[in-house]
Amino acid sequence: MNQTMGKVWCSLLFLFLFFTLSLSSSSSSSPHFEGFEAEYDDDDDVFQDIDPSSLQPINTKLTPNPSSDQQPNSPPSDLPNPTPNTFTDVWDEDEFEGLPIQQQQHHSSNPDHIPTHPKSPNNSSHSDPQPPNSSRSFTVEILCGSFLIIFAINYFTGKKENENIALSWAAQFAAKDSIFEKNFSLLGIGDGGDDSPLLLKEGQTTFKFYASGRRYCQGLLATLELKSRHDLIARIYNMIVPTRDEISFEVYMNDDAMDHVVFAMSKKKAAKAMHKDVRDLQRFATLLTPPNAKKWVSDDLAVVSESKEVAADLITDAVIDQVFGDRAYEKVGKGLISLHFSDQHSGIHKKVLLFKFVLPAASNMADMTRLVALVPYYIDLIGRYKLSSQARSKTETARQKAAQEAQRELRYAQQEAMQRKKAEKKKMLEEAEAKLSAEAIRKKEAKERARQMKKSMPRMKMTRGA
């Protein structure tokens, strides 16, 4: 599917390029200088007016410069011979001798020679603006044409670059004896065969990796969002506004395997933004202040969680040592964007773990091994995790409240929709009535008119009869 798409794609691009090139080449060969149509018309008139015999001396006047290079032996005073070699190499002197009509055509197709025409002084006065004008018109074409060519080259190289990054990621983490191979029984988007593709390509920048068949979760979907390397314009734009290659893991947990957990961790600024923007964090969670007594995550990171208990249980000593602690964070922290675990996710899957990381360059994919190892670690941790009964009652009331609110909102929305429908119906009825009444008025008027006509008719008769 992907391959055929790519093929269609390539052929389209080729066709398109061919089209452009042919257009640009033909446009550069054909004389289309802005504002010079009138001149050509003039020239044609001039040529029609000229007696063919009078053209011959003109020709000799034109020839000396080029012919002096090519034919140093032929003197410029060789009047009766038109020396047409200067125009085309295939010109047969003997065959076309004394046929000035042919030369007219040459003249009209060779605009460079026209200005030197001694019999058309109008043209020579016009000839001055021609060279800058023509060069300007070509600069646009040359610039845009070369940009298109570079664009096409960049498309293929950038596409290859992105594919290399995605493939090296897959080779590092989804090949034999890798993290995902050891944790999931089904890898890739196929149905589990040996040569089923691991990655699903969507467009030129998005790659998806799917895995399933593990305890506590239904599946995992990793989405690699790469830079638009294939797009030259986006590349130039990214020089001003830099972006990163990102990968996000979505783990869909089993419904019975995840307790009430709302938890997020990110850099301080991003955590605040997440707390504001993400709905379940906004509703259930608060921004936690780091506890003094305990070993905690690096100062750059902020934790948003439903309760301190959840946060303390999810940030174990192991992850502090490996990833989030001060010392480890210096090494691997730049690859972390955010973690977000929630049992109240909006969407089809409610219980979702979200991990967002920065992808390293294709050659050092192993740098993010520790981060990727967080994914199965947290699946197990949260799959086994049970809240204490005290915290549980708290979260339960919060969820009930939220559910009630949601229900109320739903009911409210339904009511509003009903009311809107009613109002519409009413409006329709009123309109129909108005139409009806308008029709009734019209009928009445018509009747009245008829009556008046009737009244006036006999009078007419009388006048006629009189």
């Binding site: 798409m5 269609v8 794609w9 389209l12 691009l13 398109f16 089209f19 452009t20 257009l23 033909s26 446009s27 054909s30 004389p31 289309h32 200088f33 802005e34 149509e37 050509y40 018309d41 044609d44 646009v140 074409e141 845009c144 298109l148 664009f151 096409a152 050891k182 944790n183 999931f184 029984s185 089904l186 890739g188 988007i189 196929g190 149905d191 589990g192 699903l200 969507e202 467009g203 030129q204 998005t206 399933s212 068949g213 593990r214 305890r215 239904q218 599946g219 294939h230 797009d231 030259l232 314009i233 986006a234 192991a318 490996q322 089809i348 520790r370 190892a373 199965p376 670690y377 197990d380």
Partner: protein, 98 residues
Amino acid sequence: MSSHANDPRQPSAAKPYVAPPVSPQDLPIDYAGFIAVVFGIAGVMFKYKLCSWLALVFSAQSIANMRNIENDLKQVMMAIMVSLGARVRLREDHGFKS
């Protein structure tokens, strides 16, 4: 760091990947195609050559960013047609008037 004593894999629980349905409305807007159409129309209206060339460039970008060939082809083709139309119009006006 990984704390699995036994194999966490469960082949029986494996579910094959089901692509979520994507409606044409949810696709990101094709800005490049839109810009191409705008430039193409401007090129035709004002007979300004740079506009029609830019239209071509942006329609190339819009092709390059095509995600789903079935969904996007219509938009992209429109952009290409308009920009090529602008080029052809220009050529006709300037080149073949006589």
